[in-house]
């Protein structure tokens, strides 16, 4: 039983790993190929099957005047918009989640759970429903095609995720922790910042991870709400495509765009594996 289980476990993990990693390896080799090595049949091993070159990568940082596509600016735009929107969403989301978890709200038939569901419902409806209102709204306040406008929209999209995860997390943090802090002499704000928040770091990290992922990969709103002044990375990468598909630079930009998420994955993995998710009670 034990041995068979271990064997099967590693067997499936190996298959899964190959399944997940193969496209990345494929993209990595492709990014060093030129037109002939891509179109002249299947090739795998650099220097043996084909002669590697850096053209696919160079194009990404060259200015359009030199025949490049310059993804550097969109890259930093994307980083800036994602990080700012995630940070603000986490701050606002955590505060509202704490309130929703600890205090009772009532407005007619609407109670805490309905408010929480209202947040989540923003993510349940198809994004396309929101596109016209967002467009009109940003147009009205003159924020179309601007970083600030994108940040505002992304906060609307990311905050429900933060609220959802954090309400669930705070509900699992026993009330006795807050009460103990009050008894020990904190006021409610100190209790939140000194005691509850440090205990909630694992939740914050998970919520932050989801915000960053969903913010970083969004194409739809970035595409609709920006034109020429501001471009985000996903839109720029799609724009690379032309009548002759530049597989090499597409592969390179795909790898570059995945890099921040890999960093996030490593940070989260370290936190999760440290067992920091265990609660403060018992």
């Amino acid at each position: 039983m034990g041995k068979l289980y271990t064997f099967l476990k590693y067997f499936f993990i190996t298959i899964w790993t190959v399944f997940v990693v193969a496209p990345f390896l494929w993209a990595l080799t492709t990014s060093f190929k030129d037109f002939n090595s891509v179109n002249g049949g299947v090739t795998y091993i650099p220097w043996v099957d084909f002669e590697p070159n850096l053209e696919g990568w160079r194009v990404l940082i060259k200015s359009p005047a030199e025949g490049g596509v310059d993804i550097v600016e969109p890259y930093f735009n994307s980083l800036f918009v994602t990080c700012t929107a995630s940070l603000i969403s986490i701050i606002l989301g955590t505060l509202s989640a704490y309130a929703l978890s600890r205090y009772t709200f009532k407005a007619g038939p609407i109670k805490n759970n309905d408010i929480t569901f209202f947040f989540i419902s923003q993510r349940i409806m198809p994004p396309i429903v929101l596109s016209i209102p967002f467009f009109l709204f940003l147009g009205a306040v003159n924020l179309l095609d601007s970083l600030i406008g994108l940040i505002v929209v992304y906060i609307v999209l990311l905050m429900p995720i933060a609220v959802w995860i954090m309400v669930d997390f705070f509900n699992k943090v026993p009330r006795e922790i807050d009460e103990t802090a009050l008894i020990d002499g904190c006021n409610p704000y100190q209790a939140f910042f000194k005691v509850v928040l440090p205990n909630s770091i694992p939740g914050l990290i998970v919520a932050g991870m989801f915000c960053i992922i969903f913010g970083w990969i969004d194409f739809f709103f970035a595409f609709i709400l920006t034109f020429t002044e501001v471009q985000l990375l996903p839109v720029k990468i799609v724009a690379l495509n032309s009548s002759i598909t530049p597989w090499w630079s597409l592969s390179a930009s795909a790898l570059v765009s995945v890099a921040p998420l890999i960093v996030v994955a490593f940070i989260v993995e370290r936190y999760l594996s440290k067992g920091n998710l265990s609660g403060a009670i018992k």
Partner: protein, 357 residues
């Protein structure tokens, strides 16, 4: 440290409903400074609500709380200077043991030297000294509960330390030691301790005074001896003591005697006003002995079983259809079938409508 006065306190969790249900019915009580109190009652009888009212986590629907004659009813928890230990250990898991213990002092801006001295002294009392620099979450459940306790004891001027079944998670062996520890702390620092429990043994061994509660009602307050010998109601008689008090339904046959299964039993209670009313006679099994040369108050019974419970024997016998239990010493020889039991008249409690006369 202060005297705590609960004045006509009551609490309902749904005060705005047409028919509010009360978790606590109105009661008044005073906790003297430096004493040990136990609040005893079955689960859901309002014990925790009472504690939360004292610590300020719950505001009573009516009534006043006075600390040393100062009204604190509307004072927030953080300003009351009270300590509370919950049933399950609550620790600040991101901090070390030292920081956990220092937290209540730091919140109140004590100087570094005082914090250090107090933390070390409390850690010494609770045997936590060798763990001070460890992260608190690495400790075992009972050590964590010691930290919760320590946070309550670290403030010297705390009005009272309220404990809500604090030893539930702790090994029986350690429980005994900790209870003695708590007693010592109370004697040393003169801290008022209030201890909520549903275990009568815990209450009896720990407290100077016991408050017995049932269904939101304070039923009786008194020393363990008072509760044992003169239970206020049949509930107290039933709840306190093992086995529970013997209770017999009867009616007063004269001014000082009742009839149990046609046997006349004298009592020292004046029954002249209760003629022909339904009453109950209560007697602790500890006071019932096998009759030797007593002449009066003797009732004969059929032995049903005798259990040897180590330090005493428990005799169960039948008087007609009534069951009577008697605690007798191990050496006593018990006849196999018929036995004459003596019921001391001064130990008889008479209840009308479940209340002591």
């Amino acid at each position: 440290m202060s005297k705590i006065n609960l004045n006509k306190i009551s609490h309902s969790y749904n005060p705005n409903d047409a028919n509010p249900t009360y978790a606590l019915n109105p009661f008044s009580m005073t906790w003297e400074d430096g004493k040990r109190y136990a609040i005893l009652g079955p689960s859901g009888c309002g014990k925790t609500t009472m504690l939360n009212i004292v610590s300020g986590l719950v505001r009573p629907s009516s009534g006043k709380i006075l600390f040393d004659d100062k009204d604190v009813t509307d004072l927030k928890t953080e300003n009351r200077n009270i300590a509370q230990v919950f049933q399950f250990p609550v620790i600040y898991s991101t901090m070390t043991v030292y920081d956990n213990l220092a937290f209540p002092l730091r919140c109140r801006d004590f100087s570094k030297e005082i914090v250090d001295e107090r933390v070390n002294s409390v850690a010494e009392t609770l045997n936590l000294k060798s763990f001070l620099n460890l992260p608190a979450r690495k400790l075992t459940a009972d050590q964590k509960q010691l930290i919760s306790l320590g946070r309550g004891l670290v403030r010297e001027d705390v009005a009272a330390v309220l404990m809500d079944e604090p030893l539930t998670v702790i090994d029986p062996d350690l429980k005994f030691k900790l209870r003695r520890n708590l007693k010592e702390i109370n004697e040393q620092y003169k801290t008022t301790l209030v201890y909520v429990t549903h275990d009568q043994n815990e209450a009896m061994t720990f407290a100077d005074n016991i408050v017995v509660m049932s269904e939101g009602e304070v039923v009786q307050t008194g020393t363990p001896k008072e509760l044992f010998e003169r239970p206020n109601t049949t509930f107290v008689g039933y709840f306190i003591g093992s086995p529970a008090m013997n209770l017999f339904e009867t009616d007063a046959s004269s001014a000082n005697s009742v009839k149990i299964n046609d046997t006349l039993i004298k009592t020292s209670t004046d029954l002249s006003k209760l003629k022909d009313k339904k009453i109950k006679l209560g007697i602790r099994s500890e006071f019932i002995k096998i009759a030797k040369d007593q002449k009066e108050n003797i009732i004969s019974a059929n032995v049903e079983k005798v259990e040897d419970l180590g330090n005493y024997k428990l005799l169960t016998a039948k008087i007609g259809s009534l069951t009577i239990k008697s605690k007798i010493s191990r050496e006593t020889e018990v006849p196999l079938d018929k036995v004459d039991l003596h019921i001391p008249e001064d130990k008889c409690c008479i209840y009308e409508n479940e209340k002591l006369i």
